[in-house]
Amino acid sequence: MEFLVEGLKMLTWQQLVMYGIGVLLIWLAIKKEYEPALLLPMGFGAILVNLPASGVLNQILPGVGEAQGIIQWLFEIGIEASEAMPVLLFIGIGAMIDFGPLLSNPKMFLFGAGAQFGIFAAILLAVVLGFDLNDAASIGIIGAADGPTSILVSQILNSNYIGAIAVAAYSYMALVPVIQPFAIRLVTTKKERMIRMDYNPASVSKTARIVFPIAVTAVVGLVAPSSVALVGFLMFGNLIRECGVLTTMSETAQTTLANLITLLLGITISFSMQADKFVTINTLMIMLIGVFAFVADTIGGVLLAKFINLFSKKKINPMVGAAGISAFPMSSRVVQKMAMQEDPGNVILMHAAGANVSGQIASVIAGGLVINLVTSFLG
C-alpha cells in the first residue's frame, strides 16, 4: 500500500509554500475581486503544477516513456512557440478600447509616454540588484502594467522568471487603487490636485477612427518591429470595432474570445510557477521591483504634467499624468475619484481616460523597444 503515500513522500516544503500562494491568489480573486479572471486560474494552476509528479506536466512513466501534461503542452504551444495566447488576447482588448477621448484630445498621448518611465527605472534597479540584462528587462516590463505585454517580452527575452513577472503584473494592476494614490500624493500638493480642466473635445470622424489603428500599426511597427505582433493585433481588434460592418465579430472578440483566452492564459502561466523556480529570494525581489515600477510610472506621468504646466497657460491637473499607465480603465477611475475627494464636482475623467488609453499604445511601444534594445546589447 506504499504506492498510496508515494506522492506525499515526494512533497517538498517549497511545494507547500506554492499551495499557500495558490490559495492566496484564489482568495484575492474571490474575496477581494483582484483581477479574478487571471488570479483565480493562476492560483489554481499553481496548486496543480506543484503536486508531486503532477500529470499536468510532462512525466517519464516507467515502462511507458514520456506522458505529456496538458498545462506544459498549453505553455509550449500557447506561449513558448509564438506567444499566441497573449497576442490573441490583444484582439479582444483592442476591440474593447474606445480611442475617442484620446483622438479628440491628442495632448493626452504625452502622458501615456511619460507614464512608461517606471519600466526603465525598474530595469535599472533590477540590474543594480544583480539580475542579468534580459531578466532585468523582463522584470522592468512589469511597469508596462499590461499582462500580455509582460508575458510576451519575458518569453521573447527568455527570462527565467515568467511566473513571478506574470503574478506581479496582474496583482499590481489590481492594486492600482492602492499604489497610485500613494505615489500621486508623494509628488503633488492639494492645490495641484484641485486643478480643474475644461473639456472641449474635438469631434472625431468615423474615417479618423478607422484610419487611426492602421496608422498606429504602421508607425509603431516601423519604429519597434518586435512590437508588431502586439500592436498589430491590438489595432486589428480596434479596427474590427470601428469599421462598423463587423458588429458581431467585434462583440465576439470583446467577450467570447477575450474570456476564452483569458481562461486558458491564467492556467497556462501557472506552468512557470513551479516551486523550484518560484520559491526563491529572486521572486521576492521581483515583487518589490514591480511595486517600484508602478510607483515610478505614476511619478513619471505626474512630473511630466507638472513640467508641461511650467509652459502652459491652461494648467493640467497633474494626476492626469498618472492615468497614462496602461491599467485601463482602473487608473482613470482612480484619478477621477481622487479629484472628487479634493474638490467635489471636479470632473477630469475624460482627460484621464484619454491618457489611460494612450498608455495602452505606449506600453506596447515600450515592450517592442525594450526587446530591440536589449537584444542589440546581448547580440
Partner: protein
C-alpha cells in the same frame, strides 16, 4: 557596471523612442483632424 551602463542607455533610448513615436502619432491625428474639417 557594463549592465548598469546598458540599462541607462536603454532608458534614454527607450523613453526617447516612445516620445518620438507618440509625437509622430499625434501629428497624424492632428492632420486627420484637419482633413476631416475640410
Amino acid at each position: 557596471m557594463n549592465n548598469i551602463m546598458a540599462a541607462l542607455d536603454i532608458m534614454w533610448k527607450g523613453m526617447g523612442g516612445i516620445f518620438v513615436t507618440v509625437l509622430i502619432i499625434m501629428l497624424i491625428v492632428y492632420v486627420m483632424g484637419k482633413i476631416g474639417k475640410k
